[in-house]
């Protein structure tokens, strides 16, 4: 069968069913549906570039598009980029993992603890990855085997992982960090901060590789097709022989793994293991996924658009701080979530 883009498919369908004079609106709508996310990103960037132009010159220090600022922004965006790709898969399949933030915190704490106790980078990384995979496995087990509602199961593991992270941190300290007797090795920073290429750290490129793999998985492999099938119509997927339990369980494991990578990047960036560092990342992921046009009824969505959504979220977070006081942050993010829901409803729904 000839491969067609979603755009061609949609317009083809419209031609068969609708009158010819309505065709161009259908083309427009379908274009809008597939590309609005890029307009939103452009809009956000333009707004933040223009808003302080009377105080700072274009691209100068303090301007939103200043190269240092962009690099900093992308470094901050590493954890959410790492997680939100896999998160998209789950949302497409109509499942959710609210525990990603806590999983990230616990991974950060484990990673920092290993480094502080003298293990080398590779060992610490492998252990963190295993922790992430175990957390994902537990989530998948609760949801798929014990059949607990995804929201409740992952809310409970959110509490569990956060609790464990808090318990690992010694009493009287707020995070895993070095002291004068046992300093944190300075090279813990290398992964999350050190310039590898174009001023960006290794963690950023790892995130990009993860996303690239996920995009390929979604477009070219059977896992991507099965995910969409399960989200689109669970009964039909079951009846056509898809092993939904295995597929979703695997997705939870991938999310856990990505959360561990994100936690590692965050711990390396801050050079400490903060048991609260991942708080709120699940909300950011949900916003990114909804902005990226994944239907909240499941069955449709794209990893690369989620990443654009994630960058929009980070742009909002960083850009807003330069124009309004920090205590507006929660309100702005809440509004962005509601706005994402509205946009999603107006543009994505067929």
């Amino acid at each position: 069968m000839k491969r067609t883009t979603p755009l061609e498919r949609n317009t083809g369908m419209q031609k068969n069913t609708l009158a010819v004079q309505q065709d161009w609106t259908a083309v427009f709508r379908s274009n809008l549906k597939h590309f609005y996310i890029y307009f939103v990103l452009a809009l956000v960037v333009v707004i933040f570039s223009v808003v302080k132009l009377d105080e700072v010159d274009m691209f100068q220090r303090g301007h939103f598009l200043n190269p240092d600022n962009v690099i900093n922004l992308l470094r901050i965006a590493v954890p959410i980029i790492t997680v939100s790709g896999a998160f998209t898969f789950l949302m497409i399949a109509q499942y959710i993992d609210l525990s990603v933030g806590s999983a990230m915190s616990l991974s950060a704490v484990v990673f920092a603890l290993m480094i502080l106790n003298g293990y080398n980078f590779i060992v610490a990384m492998l252990v963190t990855m295993i922790v992430g995979i175990l957390m994902g496995t537990l989530n998948g087990f609760l949801v798929m085997k014990l059949r607990i509602t995804p929201v409740i199961a992952t809310l409970v593991t959110l509490s569990l992982y956060k609790g464990i992270a808090l318990l690992i941190v010694p009493d009287g300290l707020s995070s895993i960090k070095g002291n004068s007797d046992n300093p944190m090795p300075a090279w813990i920073n290398d992964y999350g901060r050190k310039d590898v290429l174009l001023g960006l750290p290794a963690a950023f490129y790892v995130a990009i590789i993860i996303i690239a793999i996920l995009v390929v998985v979604q477009r070219k492999t059977i896992l991507g097709k099965y995910t969409a099938a399960i989200g689109g119509n669970r009964t039909a997927a079951d009846l056509s022989g898809i092993n939904a339990v295995a597929v979703i369980w695997l997705l939870y494991i991938i999310v856990g793994f990505c959360a561990a990578m994100a936690g590692m990047a965050r711990a390396s960036y801050m050079s400490l293991g903060d048991p609260l560092s991942g708080d709120g990342i699940e909300t950011a992921c949900i916003i990114a996924v909804l902005l990226g046009g994944t239907r909240f009824a499941g069955g449709e969505g794209a990893v690369e658009k989620t990443i654009i959504g994630a960058i929009i979220v980070i742009c909002m977070t960083v850009g807003m701080l330069t124009i309004i006081p920090a205590y507006w942050q929660t309100f702005v993010m809440g509004s962005v979530l509601i706005l994402a829901v509205v946009l999603n409803h107006l543009l994505v729904k067929d």
Binding site: T149, V151, G163, L167, W328, T330, F331, G334, S335
Partner: protein, 342 residues
């Protein structure tokens, strides 16, 4: 045929305990067991004063739990309750602070009479509920996503009004009354009495009114409820607004108790409200659960957390303990219910 007919009989006539009552009794058993264990290991745990504290200290979470329980029975979440508490508390303070009394922005309010301030704050709380219900009912967005958004909106409003801190000056004296007055001769506060009254009303609503029973019908199968003539949309709207209103009342009482509007008050209460509902046997899967069970669940949580404190465990244990308690509750309730059927 014979067995079919006996099955078709209403549970009340067959003389058999309903599943909800069964779970409630099961959880009362668990509560007594946990209390006995705690009484053995924690010094002075069995004293009447402490038992009273176990009930009275969880008044706010029980009030929240009423709304959250009804929504859970219909298969919806409300994560916005914590944010609504903060917002209502802060707004009630802002509305009733005297106007133009100080250079400090946080000391100046709108100078409205206390009664007006309370009503306005409650209307704002119900507004959040209206937003929730609009998105869930009209746009069919999953409630978890919407209420996550309104949670941030409500807390965001609280943070904007207090500039990320708190408002606690130039308040009229009447503001601190309702949260601090206790019943003469006892240490029981008015808030606790309000909680008890609300639980009784909710219990009557749940068991004896048509609307209460419809809640279960919607949870069991929303489509068949709609086809049998229940206005599902209006019912869900009412429940969302009710949940936010209860959160608003809690917020007012807490603001009055501390005589301050604190923007980070009630962080994580939405999770606690969910925890006590689940401990009380509410099931999101199919129109199952009861307010009485939620009440018992709140007592279980209270016993567990205060026993942990009594054993000098660090406060960091709270998260882990809650998670484990809910796991055990969900699994054991599922197990006992399936045995009962089989």
């Amino acid at each position: 045929m014979e067995t079919n007919q006996t099955k078709a009989k209403p549970l009340a006539l067959s003389g058999k305990m309903s599943n909800e009552t069964f779970i409630t009794f099961l959880m009362i058993g668990v509560l007594l067991f946990l209390f006995a264990v705690a009484a053995v290991f924690v010094p002075n745990f069995y004293q009447p004063r402490n038992i009273l504290n176990l009930v009275t200290n969880s008044w706010y979470i029980i009030i929240l739990g009423i709304g959250v329980t009804f929504l859970l029975i219909t298969g919806n979440f409300d994560l916005s309750v914590g944010g609504v508490i903060a917002m209502t508390g802060v707004l009630s303070v802002y509305f009733s602070q005297a106007a133009n009394v100080s250079q400090n922005e946080l000391a100046n309010g709108l100078g409205l009479p206390y009664g007006v301030a309370v009503v306005l704050a409650l209307i704002c709380a119900m507004g959040i509920g209206a937003v929730n219900s609009f998105f869930v009912v009209r746009i069919k967005v999953p409630s978890i996503i919407v209420t996550l958004g309104t949670m941030m909106l409500a807390r965001g409003i609280a943070q904007i009004v207090t500039q990320g801190a708190q408002r606690n000056t130039s308040l009229p004296d009447v503001f601190g009354v309702i949260g601090n007055v206790s019943i003469p001769g006892t240490p029981v506060k008015i808030s606790v009495v309000i909680m008890i009254l609300l639980v009784i009303v909710a219990f009557i609503f749940e068991r004896m009114t048509v609307h209460g029973r419809r809640t279960y019908l919607i949870g069991a199968n929303a489509e068949s409820a709609r086809l049998s003539g229940v206005n599902v949309n209006r019912h869900l709207t009412t429940l969302f607004i009710l949940s936010s209103l209860l959160a608003g009342i809690t917020g007012l009482l807490m603001a009055s108790e501390f005589k301050a509007g604190i923007s980070n008050r009630a962080t994580g209460y939405e999770f606690d409200a969910l925890v006590i509902s689940l401990l009380g046997g509410v099931s999101i899967a199919g129109g199952f659960g009861s307010v009485l069970g939620m009440f018992v669940g709140a007592l279980i949580l209270s016993v567990v957390t205060s026993a942990a404190t009594g054993l000098l465990l660090s406060p960091d244990w709270q998260f882990t303990l809650k998670a484990i308690a809910v796991f055990i509750a969900i699994l054991s309730q599922g197990y006992f219910l399936s045995r009962r059927k089989g």
